[in-house]
């Protein structure tokens, strides 16, 4: 999909990091640390398992080295997830926006892909959207969710749909509309992430039901 770039996002096995980095090559170690933390997070399925020591071990470094590359543990963890905020935009939202002309159809596609994205690796989703605010470094705090290209793009799509007369914007305009749709999808994903064993209807059925309700409502009388 994207051009060849260093594979920082998703990799299959634990990343290898040969010998000591040369003078200007500290960034390579930094990438290795990020990749190792990412792998650890996915492999363990638990944020708690990602300790500074464990990450250092996985990269083949000693713990103090981590602090040469990251301010502290929270920054490291969130930087891991920043990669996935990018991915969310690059892999889920942007392609649909670029290729699907019909805004309503675009929303449907984004909805399905968003849920898939969340369920594919739940621990990232948990940190990105469900983590304690106090663990979120300030500079990432609100911005990542709201002013990411991501959510902004969705609002744009909704606006387009409203402009083209496809959707009715209520009191709050397109932003509220986007929030409503996102809340439903987020509620769905968050539940699955938190309680994967909870018996529930199939995800795809629920996404469709959410979209249908969102678009057409479930009431019989149009009052």
């Amino acid at each position: 999909m994207t051009a060849t770039r260093p594979d920082t996002g998703r990799q299959a096995g634990p990343p290898a990091r040969p010998g000591r980095a040369r003078r200007g090559e500290g960034d390579r170690t930094r990438e290795a640390i990020l990749a190792a933390a990412d792998h650890l997070l996915v492999a363990s399925g638990s944020e708690e398992a990602v300790s500074v020591r464990a990450v250092a071990d996985a990269v083949g470094l000693t713990p103090p080295t981590i602090y040469r590359h990251f301010e502290d543990k929270d920054h490291l963890l969130f930087e891991v997830c920043a990669v996935h905020f990018d991915r969310l935009d690059r892999e889920v939202v942007a392609p649909v926006v670029a290729t699907v002309a019909d805004p309503v159809e675009a929303l449907r596609r984004i909805a399905h892909d968003y849920v898939r994205f969340g369920l594919d690796d739940p621990e990232h989703y948990r940190i990105m959207f469900m983590g304690h605010a106090q663990h979120t470094p300030e500079r990432y705090d609100d911005h990542q969710i709201l002013s990411t290209g991501c959510f902004g793009s969705v609002i744009d799509v909704v606006s387009r749909a409203v402009d083209e007369g496809r959707l009715r914007a209520g009191e709050g305009g397109p932003t509220v509309l986007a929030f409503v749709l996102w809340s439903a999808l987020h509620g769905l994903v968050a539940t699955r992430v938190a309680k994967p064993n909870m018996p529930a209807p199939p995800v795809d059925l629920l996404v469709e039901a959410i979209l249908d309700a969102f678009l057409h409502g479930v009431a019989t009388d149009p009052t």
Copy 2:
């Protein structure tokens, strides 16, 4: 609202526990521990602050005593929240079901009250609905959310609305409908709980928007 009962749910200050419990009165200590843990959770606003030692301190006991009353920390924590699962049913769902005849109006009321409930003390909500499955003692796991009186009652209300011809049940029937509505509300609350500082439209506006979308849809064409 409810008859006079020992106030285990919400109290203003840290609970007092005078001297050693008499022979048959171990349960009083147990209640005191639960109340202290609850208070600590609310006061600190963080599950992490609720350690066995901190709870013991708050009650005026030594840590080992906790283990006479609770199997381990997870059980204690979740039992704290079990109180609030009860509250959710008793204070939010049941009163509305008992007093509001119109099922659609009942859903509206429950929606507002549910969101209020969640935002009133976020840390409980977090543990109840957003906590790691592995920290949830097995016997509470799925049951609390789904087969609580709570969610069951909501499904009942939705069923009634469908039976009375007020709502259209889609492919998945009332259960899916209830899930859709709950997902949207949960998504809203969960976001506020996780990122309280995130700029977002006012809650009440969003709840209304969710209800309107859920009931009437936002699409202009009825296709």
